[in-house]
Subunit: 345 residues, 4 copies
Amino acid sequence: MIAGIVGATGYGGMELFRLLSTHPQIKNIQLYSSSQAGEDFETIYPQLESNKRHTLRDLEAEVMKEECDVIFLATPAGVSSRLTPDLQGGKAKVIDLSGDLRLKNPDEYKEWYKKDAAPTGVLETAVYGLPEWNQEAIKQTDVIANPGCYPTATLLGLGPVIQGQLAERSSVIIDAKSGVSGAGKNPNPLTHFAHAQENFQIYKVNQHQHIPEIEQQLEQWDGSTEPVTFSTHLVPMTRGIMATIYFTLKEDLSTEELLARYRDHYAAHPFVRIREAGQFPCTKDVYQSNYCDIGLTIDRRTKRVTVVSVIDNLMKGAASQAVQNMNLVFGIEETAGLPERPVYP
Amino acid sequence: MIAGIVGATGYGGMELFRLLSTHPQIKNIQLYSSSQAGEDFETIYPQLESNKRHTLRDLEAEVMKEECDVIFLATPAGVSSRLTPDLQGGKAKVIDLSGDLRLKNPDEYKEWYKKDAAPTGVLETAVYGLPEWNQEAIKQTDVIANPGCYPTATLLGLGPVIQGQLAERSSVIIDAKSGVSGAGKNPNPLTHFAHAQENFQIYKVNQHQHIPEIEQQLEQWDGSTEPVTFSTHLVPMTRGIMATIYFTLKEDLSTEELLARYRDHYAAHPFVRIREAGQFPCTKDVYQSNYCDIGLTIDRRTKRVTVVSVIDNLMKGAASQAVQNMNLVFGIEETAGLPERPVYP
Amino acid sequence: MIAGIVGATGYGGMELFRLLSTHPQIKNIQLYSSSQAGEDFETIYPQLESNKRHTLRDLEAEVMKEECDVIFLATPAGVSSRLTPDLQGGKAKVIDLSGDLRLKNPDEYKEWYKKDAAPTGVLETAVYGLPEWNQEAIKQTDVIANPGCYPTATLLGLGPVIQGQLAERSSVIIDAKSGVSGAGKNPNPLTHFAHAQENFQIYKVNQHQHIPEIEQQLEQWDGSTEPVTFSTHLVPMTRGIMATIYFTLKEDLSTEELLARYRDHYAAHPFVRIREAGQFPCTKDVYQSNYCDIGLTIDRRTKRVTVVSVIDNLMKGAASQAVQNMNLVFGIEETAGLPERPVYP
Amino acid sequence: MIAGIVGATGYGGMELFRLLSTHPQIKNIQLYSSSQAGEDFETIYPQLESNKRHTLRDLEAEVMKEECDVIFLATPAGVSSRLTPDLQGGKAKVIDLSGDLRLKNPDEYKEWYKKDAAPTGVLETAVYGLPEWNQEAIKQTDVIANPGCYPTATLLGLGPVIQGQLAERSSVIIDAKSGVSGAGKNPNPLTHFAHAQENFQIYKVNQHQHIPEIEQQLEQWDGSTEPVTFSTHLVPMTRGIMATIYFTLKEDLSTEELLARYRDHYAAHPFVRIREAGQFPCTKDVYQSNYCDIGLTIDRRTKRVTVVSVIDNLMKGAASQAVQNMNLVFGIEETAGLPERPVYP
């Protein structure tokens, strides 16, 4: 198979490039760039030099969609909404890592992203690529909207209780924390080392564009349009997301019983691991892997549930989940080309 | 004035030593140690060498309580419960930075600290030293229980709404994050650099000993014994606490109106700073200062309030708050000897 | 005294502002800005709010030089070379924290800074403000060139042996490491958190503009124009410099004898602390202080000397050394307004 | 092939386990432990759970040497010196990651390690496993002494000039910096997060046990017993080593000519990458890879050479180099099972 990447020099794109390079089914990787076409990728990034070299190719949709089997768009918001329509209808499947194709409602996209939405046709075609919940639809589509990093951690942590109608929807609060790489490669004052180091920051309070993405999926599960509280913080580390999720249950369950529901839901899914009662994952438990680790407990005093869900934001939150989706789309084994274990320390 | 410190080699004690060294009213600092009596402090810690030297003195309560005007106990749980009774009745006021004297109910101490509580008489005498709320009582006592780091950030963030009966008590969730110095000076696997760096950890879920301390004060404000949800996380940084606090209001207020209540409550308190609407503090905004900075907003969608309260856990969360309490007890200006501004970057 | 600061929003300027705010001899601080004149400083930086507020004033040299007793220039290279001449001849003493006035030879400035040098007259007037070596000249000047961060650590570490003609000049190698704040406040790819964290970088190999500054002072000490090897590295931390200095001795001395020379040289200087044989400082030993800590040893196998010299780059390497110079210029006690002890942890 | 690991819970051992798990030639991994035999590895470390589980087996040399094809010893100093003799003579090849088998001279081991050396017979058999220089010997041995992390970075950086007799041996100074994981998994005060963070430390000045290891190889290359200066520093990061190496040349070469020598030497070695003139690697350029990246320049002023050599201390400095050695010993492709590209960011 031949894989194309648009945006290989961003953080998500670079991880994709690394993963696809050693994927057993990928014979060739082609990198596309409108601004640097013709240049040698490994000359620009000597640290990525290996036994193969890659020339950046021109971003011509007509050519790309025939020469690639799969095209990954690791581009900023506003690019794939315009590019995807041109990439459809050829040989290539499209996997978009940006937020452009995730929201079915174009008005919502416009409201939260402050940009024009993709054409309705594309939005209708695109399948939300959360493999642990949408596997069948993923296998049958040509266009995948790869989920956002925060939504991945949040939805995997909430899926069993929301789909199972176990949680009071209005009680759901997600307090999420992310490493700085989530803010991307462009330097800015908030991510300047001397500012971000030894600092813990909250940002976009009640305004993060991942909120409607989370709520759209929750509604699909339980039909409720009740909004959730979702906060995002910047942790002085490069990678990792922890979502600490709070809610109350509609019925009386023990921690063990609730854990059993989670284990049932994820039994067939190799990349979600449920901890024993009393154990909680830290972000390093999934470092540079495609795992989402989940721990939970019910407080005997408040009766409130605390679910802790961790991922690597650049992997399960972006690149490795995109590869997982590619595996499903092409009928390859779901775990192919993905790290078997996280890196430690 | 002569100040004594027990436990000057711990993190809180070292900060105390630094602050008292340049306090305009402190003429002399005496350091006490049972295990290292007779040794020269600056020989053990050459980085603390200055124009004065300090010999560690024996820990003899009878002598200490007459030669010091104020004695700070910066000791682990279980020490001051036994030591404080012996230090009472002399010239010295006692300011305890540990958790031993904070909980009025000895059973609760035993339950959460897994140790024997201090004698009831001491617990009754000790005043909870949260200067922005207990100022009058602090001024009249001989024994101060200096608040814990998490409770300081949490209670300053919740005070105006709980005392003002504005919040639904059962809706209160505090998601707190702390730098690693809060875990103290003793190396352990969780705080080993290679483990804690590039890692975000949750710990003591629903079991942190600061929970009853928070609830005790909340009850004093609004009479309710409703438990709160309080979670603690370890951030890969040395100092700083952020408490992200969620609750719903009993009445319909705008963000501006709620901010006005906070500003009113803290108008006379120089160390609490309230941000403008739409602005939120980060932990570096209060680095190495005695400030607690607070920002808040009401989500138009969920109607839920998010309050963000930040402190330096070793300063307002320990040492500098202890100095602030000393100032109040001795009728010194409240800001004396405390940094005028945080350190940045 | 009234102190003026140009560039108070940079890292060095902010530290200056903080130190001068609590300096016993400074009654008033005035902040100057050409671009933000008229704005309220504490509104722009709410985290710096205190009991006083500061309006940014226009940068008018004629006015400034009469209303201030001392003016600090915490500006990028190329500003004070043009501004200082206009500030001379009035009441105010000028202390320049940039590199503009340090090199006596304008050609050398031009070569290493790639900018036009200050007028020769100013360069001749300006005194290099390394208080431990130039104290008498500092006391008698109106214009001080505050030393660079790397040169401060390096020259304090080399002074006793170079001035004492003890070292083979051609053998001197300085391997220096700095925290990221040394690169200033402007975000760039090298100091972007996700790049700089978990990374150790070398930069400007053999091309750092502090090389001629170091060599100029060495030549003043021993008359030799022999160049030295000086390398600079970026450490994933905000503050701190360590210079690891290697050289061979001309004569046979023991570690203890060499340490004695250092102790003699610095006996009257409160901000240089010499460690015992076998002990070496780390950068945290001087965190947020004006200290320079030095340890050294002679290798029995290679006969080579290793000197380790550490400072806080924003303090002794910039702001607090500027205050120390101000103290000397105005006949104030050298330690006034400076922290008595470093901050830990 | 069946691979055994002793010490899989240390940092080096854990990386080995991860790499071998996906190595195309390894069918089975067996973990041995004297203290935890019988326990389930993935129960102790749930974050390492995958599709296979591993029971810790008893440390019985007689059994191990027949059931394994290769045994990796990732144990502290003093273990493999006693264990290796018992593991010899069976089917298994032994690859020792500790320092026990590296020094040919038992007296030197005793002097620098303060422990008894391995039996002379074992020391004579063991081949120093630096694949870029000892490839032929490695392919023919049963016992490999896997090089230390610092020596790997240093020797790869010095090899071409020392073996080529180009450098003045007495001029060689190596200023090395390492991430904290090099100090191992046991918590101690120097590696406690609150101490190591925002700190840069020098340690074991002139006393590091890797000094004789470096000198032994240098002597093999040029016959000289001249000692070198080698310093070690602790960087506040988890992984990565940079060796900044200084020396003078015996003959007059340009930077380009010297670079050409390096490129020649390493042309056939896929894991050493030489940068273009004017470019220098940072430690993140080799993060989690088996690469050693090298940049160098000759200072036109001092004529001194600066070589910068970086590795990941747990990979090329330990685990991945051990796998590279295994590949060579068994005639597998040298790059098999090793990451094709470093991880970024």
